[in-house]
Subunit: 436 residues, 2 copies
C-alpha cells in the first residue's frame, strides 16, 4: 500500500516527541497499521533554535499554512497549542479536506463544537486523544470501550503538577508555596502556574470527558473551577487522621437535575485506588452502569507520553481513511444529531458532603453556635474532630465532616459561622466524594 | 439506517447480562452506534430453566447451529464458553461469512491462530475484548491506544478469585484454604477451583495479551503456570514486613533472549498502584517505551461487567461492517503477515529476584551453609530477615530477598539447601518484580 503523508505543526515538547516516536518505532507501527506513515513536512515558527528530535528526511518550513494547504498532506498534526493560530490552521486543514490530529485541549474544549461540525460537513475526522490525560487512552476507553454503558460519573486526577504538589504536601509535610516553587524549578509547572493550580487546565480536560461520557455539547464556560492554593498543611493532616486524602479532581456527574461539571480539591477515602495515585501521574475513574467503576492511569504529560497518544490517533485516522464517514466513531462518542443539551448545574445547586475547618476562640458555647447554624440549614454532622488549643494563638481548630448538603445551604451556613464573633478566620471547606 | 441483526449463543451469566445491557441501554447505544442493534435470536441448550434477563421479543431456540446458519444474522455472539461446541459454532459462523463476538478466553488462547486465519480468509472479524479482564477495555487499549509504542512488558491481576483470596489473607490474617472455602460459598470460585487458583484461567488471558503486546502468535502451551495454593500466612506477613505485597500476576516481558510468559505469585513493592488492587478486582499494567507505565483497572468478571465488553465489541463490529477489511484493526494488533515467531523462554531461563523462606534447625553454621550455596550459584543476597526460633518446633525461619538470578541457578541452589540436614521443610520461593 501507499504510504500516508502527514504534516506536523509545531516542534516543541510534544511535536519533537511525536517525531521521535514515529521514527524510532516506525517498524513496529507499520506492523500494526499495515501502511507506512511518512512525516513529509514539519512546520515551526522558530527553525533556528535546536529541536529535540532527528529531523533528517523531513521537509521543514516556518509557514504552517503551507502545510495545511499542501495537497499531498492527508493528515495534519496540530501540536502548537492555544486557540489563536492553531484554530485558524485546524479550520483551514479541515476546509481543505484533511484529517486532523491534535493535542490541543483548550482548542477542543472551547471551539470543539464548531470544529466538529465543520469536520462532519467535510467528511473528515478530528482526533484528540492527546488532549486529555496525555498518554492514557481515556478518550478511546470511554468512547469505544464503554460504549455499552450509561456512564454515571467520572472523576480524574488530570493535572500532574497539582497532584505532585498535593503528594509532596502529604508525604513530606511541606507547604503549598514551597512545593510549587520546586515544581516550577523542576519544569513541571509553568512560570505562571495559574492554569495548573487554579484548575483551568483540568477544566479543559474535564469538559471534553464529560461530553464524551454523557453525549452533551462541549460547555467549558459552565465548568466550576477551584484551585488548590488554599489547601493548608493542617488540612492534609486532618484529612489523613480521618482516613481521607485530598486530591485535586475533575468531576462530572449525571443527575436528575442536570450535569455536574466541577474541578476542586476533594477529600476521598484513602483506600480508593485513585487516592493512591501519586506524584505527577494522572488517573481517571469512570463509573458505568454495566461495568461498574473502571480506572485508567498513566503519565498525563511529557514529550513521549503525549506523543504516544498522538501516534495512536494517527494510526486510527489512517484506518479511517477507508471507512464510511457515516459509520466512524463520532467525535463526542454520540452521533452529532443525538447530542442532548442537558443543562450544567450551577455549583450552588450541587449536593456534596463537606470537610470544614473552623478556627475559633476557645470560649463556651462556640460549638453550640456552630452546630445550631448548621442544623438550621439542614446540615447533618457526620463527625467532629476538636483539637487542643494551639499554643501560639489560643484558637481551637474544629474539624467537621458533614452529610451531603446543597452547596447554597452550605454557603449560607458558612456566612453565618464567619459572622460569629468567636470565629476569627475564614472557614475552610473542602468537598468530599466517596467515589463508591 | 437498517438495524443490525445479532444472534446470541448461550444465556448463562454473560449471555443474560448481554441481553439485559443491550435492552436497558438500547437508546444510549443507538445514540453512539447510529444504528439499532436487534437481538433477533438467542440459543440456549436448556430453555426450560429460568434466565436472568427479559427475553421478550427475542426468538429462542435450543439449536445454536440454526443461528450460525441463519442468513439474516450478521453478528454471532458466542457466550457458551469452552473449546468444544463453541469452537464448532464459531468456525461455522465464520465460514458462513458472519462476524463473531466472543468472551471465550480458552477458545482464543488455544485456537485463536486458526480462527483468525479463517476469519481473515472470509473477510470477517472476531472480537474478543470480553475474553480478557472482563469489562476493562484492555484489548482496545493495547491494540489501538498504545499503537505507537514498543510494549516492553505487562503484568496483570487477571483472576478475581485469586486476588480475593490473597487480599483476605493479608487484610484478615486468614489461611488460604479457609478463604478459598468462603470464595466457593460466595460463588466467586468454581467447585473445582483449579482454573482460578492454579493460574490456568490467568494463563489463557495472559497468552492473549502477550500476543497483542508483542505481535507473536498465540502460544498458550508455552506459558508457565504456578498457583497460589502454597502461599502461607507467614509469607504474606514477612512480605509486608519487607515492604511488599504478594499478588498472583500474569507477566509477559520481551527480552533479548525471547518472550517471558508466566503466571505465578509475585512480591511487588507495596507502593505500586497495582499492589493496592484488592478483592475481586482486576488490573493490568502495560509498559510502553513512549508512554511509560499505564494501568487499567475494573471488574474482571461478572454478568454485566463482562457484558459491557461484549456490547462494546458489538458496536465496534457494527462499525466494521462498512470498513475495508484490509484496513481494520488486526486481530492480534499486528498485521497477520507481520507476526514474529519469537520463542517463549522456558521458565528455567527466566531471570528474576526471589523471596526465599527457609525453615531450619537453630544450629551453628546454618546460615553460613546457605549463603555459601547461594554464592556458589552466583546468587547475591539483597536482605535477610532472621526470626526468633518458633516456640513449638524449635525451627528458625530465615527469610531472604535475592538479587536477580537465572531460575535454573536458583533451582540448583534450592536443591542443595534442601539437602542440608538442618533444613527440615521444602524451601518456599516466590519471584519478585519491581514493576518499575
Amino acid at each position: 500500500m501507499q504510504s500516508v503523508k502527514i504534516g506536523i505543526l509545531g516542534l516543541g515538547t510534544v511535536g519533537s516527541g511525536t517525531v521521535s516516536v514515529l521514527k524510532r518505532n516506525a517498524r513496529e507501527i507499520i506492523r500494526r497499521a499495515g501502511r507506512d506513515i511518512e512525516i513529509s513536512v514539519a512546520a515551526d515558527k522558530d527553525l533556528q533554535s535546536p529541536k529535540n528530535c532527528d529531523l533528517s528526511g523531513i521537509k521543514l518550513t516556518d509557514d504552517a499554512f503551507s502545510v495545511v494547504n499542501d495537497p499531498d498532506i492527508q493528515i495534519v498534526v496540530e501540536l502548537i497549542g492555544g486557540t489563536g493560530v492553531a484554530k485558524e490552521l485546524v479550520s483551514k486543514a479541515i476546509e481543505n479536506g484533511k484529517h486532523v490530529v491534535t493535542a490541543n485541549k483548550a482548542l477542543i474544549a472551547m471551539h470543539g463544537n464548531e470544529l466538529f461540525a465543520l469536520a462532519q460537513e467535510k467528511g473528515v475526522t478530528i482526533a484528540f486523544e492527546a488532549a486529555v490525560a496525555g498518554g492514557i487512552p481515556i478518550i478511546k476507553a470511554m468512547r469505544e470501550g464503554l460504549a455499552g454503558n450509561r456512564i454515571e460519573w467520572l472523576a480524574g486526577i488530570i493535572n500532574g503538577t497539582g497532584n505532585f504538589i498535593l503528594t509532596e504536601m502529604r508525604d513530606k509535610g511541606r507547604d503549598f508555596a514551597d512545593v510549587l516553587a520546586e515544581a516550577q524549578a523542576l519544569g513541571y509547572a509553568e512560570a505562571d502556574p495559574t492554569f495548573d493550580v487554579e484548575g483551568i487546565d483540568a477544566a479543559h480536560k474535564l469538559t471534553i470527558m464529560a461530553s464524551i461520557a454523557f453525549g452533551i455539547p462541549l460547555q467549558f464556560y459552565s465548568a466550576y473551577t477551584e484551585g488548590i492554593s488554599k489547601i493548608a498543611q493542617e488540612d492534609v493532616q486532618y484529612a489523613a487522621e480521618l482516613g481521607y486524602r485530598i486530591k485535586h479532581l475533575g468531576i462530572a456527574k449525571k443527575t436528575d437535575r442536570g450535569v455536574e461539571l466541577r474541578v476542586h480539591p476533594t477529600l476521598i477515602p484513602h483506600r480508593r485506588l485513585i487516592a493512591n495515585v501519586n506524584g505527577v501521574m494522572n488517573a481517571v475513574v469512570v463509573k458505568g452502569d454495566a461495568v461498574g467503576p473502571t480506572l485508567y492511569y498513566g503519565a498525563g504529560a511529557g514529550s513521549e507520553a503525549t506523543a504516544s497518544a498522538v501516534v495512536a490517533d494517527i494510526v486510527d485516522v489512517v484506518r479511517a481513511l477507508t471507512t464510511d464517514p457515516e459509520n466512524r466513531v463520532p467525535h463526542l462518542a454520540f452521533q452529532p444529531d443525538a447530542l442532548k443539551d442537558t443543562p450544567i448545574l450551577p455549583i450552588a445547586e450541587v449536593v456534596t458532603s463537606y470537610y470544614l475547618r473552623i478556627h475559633s476562640e476557645d470560649k463556651p458555647g462556640v460549638l453550640a453556635n456552630i452546630t445550631r447554624i448548621l442544623s438550621e440549614q439542614g446540615i447533618n454532622i457526620e463527625s467532629i474532630l476538636q483539637k487542643q488549643p494551639e499554643e501560639h494563638e489560643g484558637l481551637i481548630p474544629i474539624i467537621m465532616l458533614t452529610q451531603p448538603v446543597l452547596e447554597k445551604n452550605m454557603d449560607e451556613a458558612i456566612a453565618q459561622i464567619e459572622a460569629l464573633g468567636t470565629v476569627t478566620a475564614p472557614v475552610m471547606r473542602i468537598r468530599m466524594e466517596t467515589l463508591g
